[in-house]
């Protein structure tokens, strides 16, 4: 199958408008005859479900949490970008588009990103109208801040809880539609598989996590908005339940998985403290607006700190290395996430890390407190400082925070065309679960923007492109395809329950996570990835011979839920390593040690970049890697979608 991205013709600034004009519409009276299944109720899924219902479609929405309001979008702290230019600082749709393409290290589709920048303004309008309490200035207008490597102030925020407030807005719209009868909501339901009829996605099989009942749901189209796969590393900033199972099931049914190796490591997280640890906690990178990042210049000082013989405050100003300010003078502490994370890893690898494990750097507010006063800092970051103190027992007003990078977001996802349709007709994919907008690296405050863009403004238009050619209501769960898929799901659950081994699900997940962190984490090599591809099948084999899942499939069984998810993570991990292995370049969230600038590189001599920076190879690798599943344990097949850059000039992504 060839990959047709279905990007509309014409100049980039006219593509979306023309596409909307040229797309078929569905008569209002006919919309109610169509049923759309939405899996996931975060910003993307929730916004899609609410909007499609408002338009008149019948919607069935599913989430594994006990309420749609708990999806992990809720945890986003920092903000949401839009090209409003309310600050009159030179922002525009084009600049947001350009920054996003460049931030993604030139591995995103231009047309999708331009559309994202275009609808960003509508999102802010929509959210404000819903009552999202964004921060405001005294004059009553909306406040903005600069965020995550942007040189304009385009980020809208609601204290440190922007994701929560946006999700509540979207959840309230969803509950309104549920109460009206337009959306049928299924909480505590996990999608187990996609059902295909004549090659088209026409339904799903789900497990009721309260009763254990397996049931089928038929529709005219299916939307997956099931989030990212960061938990393949076991430790990440994702919620405990975030998983790749739904996307993986779709992948196994024929949906291509694009760029799985692009994973974002967030630079400002609380360092790991012990092997009992279940997750990592992100400290919003808005902290980098006022905090300065440093480690001691000397290994000796760092060691003394690790051993508790010195405190950070004992290190004289001249003995501190503010390495981001030193290496990236114009961006300083605001250098993009991948750049900042790698720089932290570098100084820790040199033996200059702090924290007891040596895997930590300081984020220091001393200067900001001296300049602005403690009250201003408290007003800006009070809740974050409090959260930090609760977790670590340290007071960041008095001693610098310790931070270290952690897995945070995954840019890869199911391959989708311009209409957000996967390679399975009828199956659409939104938000973090798709690959489309962030390229190899996502900029801060762009995840919320993309989730809501897809859910509120893109899919309500583009789903009609598919539905207009489908006769509504022809599918029922009585069809053989549903019965067969249900049977396979039940067999899968019984298989998990019947291994009766001796190792817990978590022990496998931890083992997998460590392999992935060591070999497919912040720095990757051919040898490391090949080793991972030897290790992962062994984990898979042992899992299926030795996992212990107690209890039965009836009723609440959290070990069974985890086992299903971990089984899919193990298989997914292989695809991820194949992807990282074939991409013989470094870009954004994918850093191959073999491909970095050195002292001898021409570009370094010309002062365009520095040794150790990511070396992209545009001639060979300016493509989307879309993987086709060939069966468990079989290497997947690579399909390439070439990326054309007609509007943005491919350049070294320099932040010097």
């Amino acid at each position: 199958m060839s990959l047709d991205s279905k990007i509309p013709d014409g100049p980039i600034e006219e593509k979306w408008t023309k596409h909307k004009m040229n797309s078929k519409l569905i008569n209002p009276a006919n919309k109610r005859k169509y049923t759309v299944i939405v899996v996931g109720s975060g910003l993307a899924g929730g916004a899609a479900a609410a909007s499609l219902s408002e338009m008149g479609y019948k919607v069935k929405c599913f989430c594994y949490q006990d309420s749609p309001r708990r999806a992990h979008s809720i945890a986003a702290q920092g903000g949401i970008n839009a090209a409003k230019n309310y600050q009159n600082d030179g922002d525009s749709v084009y600049r947001l588009f350009y920054d996003t393409v460049k931030g993604g290290d030139f591995r995103a589709r231009e047309a999708n990103v331009y559309r994202l920048a275009e609808v960003s303004n509508n999102i802010i309008d929509q959210c404000v109208a819903q009552g999202v309490p964004f921060a405001r200035e005294y004059g009553g207008l909306l406040d903005n801040r600069s965020f995550g490597g942007a040189q304009v102030s385009r980020t809208f925020y609601a204290r440190g809880q922007t994701g929560q407030q946006l999700l509540i807005g979207c959840y309230q719209a969803l509950e309104k539609e549920i109460a009206k009868g337009g959306v049928e909501m299924f909480t505590r339901h996990e999608m187990m598989d996609v059902v295909k009829v004549n090659g088209h996605a026409k339904g799903i099989v789900v497990r009721d996590m309260t009763t254990g009942e397996i049931s089928s749901h038929a529709g005219d189209a299916v939307i997956l908005a099931t989030g990212g796969y960061g938990n393949v590393f076991f430790l990440s900033t994702n919620a405990m339940g975030c998983n790749v199972a739904a996307a993986m099931r779709a992948h196994k049914r024929g949906a291509y998985f694009a760029n799985p190796c692009y994973t974002q490591i967030h630079p400002t997280c609380i360092p790991v403290s012990g092997d009992y640890q279940s997750k990592l906690t992100l400290m919003s990178e808005s902290l980098r607006n006022d905090g300065r990042i440093w480690v001691p210049k000397s290994k000796e000082d760092a060691q003394a700190i690790r051993e508790g013989k010195k405190a950070p405050t004992d290190i004289a100003e001249d003995d501190r290395d503010y390495y981001l300010e030193r290496k990236y003078p114009s961006f300083g502490n605001l250098a993009p996430r991948d750049v900042s994370s790698r720089a932290a890893k570098e100084v820790c690898d040199e033996g200059r890390g702090v924290a007891t494990t040596g895997l930590g750097v300081y984020l220091d507010f001393k200067d900001a407190i001296a300049r602005l006063g403690e009250d201003t800092i408290r007003a800006r970051y009070g809740n974050l400082f409090q959260m930090y103190e609760k977790i670590t027992g340290d007071n960041p007003y008095q001693t610098p925070m310790q931070i270290y990078p952690a897995v945070h977001y995954t840019m890869g996802g199911l391959w989708v065309d311009y209409n957000l349709q996967t390679s399975i007709p009828g199956l659409h994919c939104l938000g973090e679960a798709n690959f489309s907008d962030h390229g190899a690296n996502r900029l801060g405050a762009s995840a919320l923007m993309q989730g809501l863009a897809d859910g509120y403004f893109v899919i309500p238009t583009t789903i009609a492109v598919y539905l207009a050619n489908e006769k509504p209501g022809t599918i029922t769960t009585e069809m053989d395809e549903f019965k067969q898929t249900e049977k396979e799901v039940k067999e899968h659950i019984n298989a998990l329950l019947n291994v009766n081994g001796s190792r817990t699900v978590d022990s496998f997940h931890r083992e997998l996570g460590l392999v992935m962190w060591n070999h497919c984490g912040m720095a990757r090599t051919k040898e490391g990835l090949e080793e991972a591809l030897q290790l992962i099948p062994k984990i898979r084999e042992e899992f299926w011979n030795n996992v212990k899942v107690p209890g039965s499939g009836d009723g609440v069984n959290s070990e069974l839920e985890k086992a299903h998810r971990v089984a899919e993570f193990i298989e997914f991990a292989e695809t991820m390593c194949y992807d990282a292995l074939q991409r013989e370049e470094s870009c954004g969230g994918h850093f191959r040690l073999e491909y970095q600038f050195t002292e001898d590189s021409q570009e370094v001599k010309e002062g365009k970049t520095q040794p150790g920076e990511a070396l992209r190879r545009d001639e060979e690798f300016a493509y989307v890697a879309a993987w086709q599943h060939n069966g468990v344990g079989e290497p997947p097949t690579l399909h390439k979608e070439d990326l054309d850059f007609d509007n943005v000039h491919l350049a070294i992504r320099s932040y010097a």
């Binding site: 909007s51 109208a129 009552g131 405001r136 200035e137 509950e175 012990g274 009992y276 817990t504 107690p550």
Partner: protein
């Protein structure tokens, strides 16, 4: 390392009888979170061939509102302004006995062990806790200035994570803190004004229909709220309800 005794509510399902089970929780790192302590205990239960203690949790950073443990008789523990997942073991001393129970309320039926069904909250939101604005129908965001003080007050109320601790702490199992915070968030903003009366009546009536008790102004809710939502919202809701009722009678 801490050595603790746990007394945990176990119940197979909604209809079976529940009981307190005792667990020995030895060698618990002080830097572990409370839920990580439960993970450690569960790993040991599993290795001994038992079924783990079931509890709700997801984000583990105090924002999703899914964790719902009553710890030593107090929802989310006696520590102020945190959820159970943000509680760390350094707050306990070795030798202590910790009682762990679900969020108990008639309107929160128990599903298993420490997991309860809080979908009543979703239905209260559906009864009016929204602004009716169709996607795509909004005006430019800055066309409607909102006084900073109003926006901040709305944000204070909107910080509610919908965990239900307020209900579990109340001797009447009243949901007034939740409902009043959700109503205040929208009622304080000009965007929420047109539907204010309808919202207040709808949400309060749904709250009553779900079987939550009445508020008798004890403020246990405010004391346990992990987001420290003010009980002033309850006074605000009572006033708005009186106005809405009068308005309804007059129409």
């Amino acid at each position: 390392m801490l050595n603790l005794t746990l007394k945990v509510w176990r119940q197979q399902n909604a209809t079976s009888e529940g009981f307190i089970e005792t667990y020995d929780a030895h060698d618990i790192p002080e830097s572990a979170s409370f839920l990580e302590m439960l993970d450690i205990v569960n790993e040991r239960i599993l290795n001994d061939g038992g079924e783990p203690i079931h509890f709700d949790h997801d984000c583990r950073e105090g924002i999703c509102g899914q964790c719902s443990l009553t710890i030593n008789g107090i929802p989310h523990s006696k520590e102020r302004g945190i959820t159970a997942c943000q509680l760390h073991m350094r707050k306990f001393k070795t030798g202590e006995t910790i009682w762990i129970e679900p969020f108990r309320a008639k309107a929160f039926p128990l599903l298993r062990d420490l997991i309860v069904d809080r979908s009543a909250f979703d239905r209260i939101i559906g009864a009016g806790g929204y602004v009716s604005v169709r996607t795509g129908s909004a005006q430019d965001a800055n066309n409607l200035p909102v006084a900073k003080t109003k926006a901040d007050a709305a944000m204070d109320a909107a910080a509610c994570i919908g965990c239900g601790a307020c209900v579990a702490a109340c001797k009447n199992a009243s949901a007034m803190l939740f409902v009043s915070a959700k109503a205040a968030h929208l009622n304080l903003l000009p965007q929420g004004a047109p539907e204010k009366n309808k919202r207040v009546l709808g949400m309060v009536r749904q709250m009553d229909a779900e079987g939550f008790g009445n508020c008798t102004n004890q403020y246990e809710c405010e004391a346990v709220c992990p987001k420290e939502i003010s009980a002033d919202n309850i006074a605000r809701l009572n006033r708005d309800y009186a106005i809405a009722i009068a308005d309804e009678a007059a129409v």
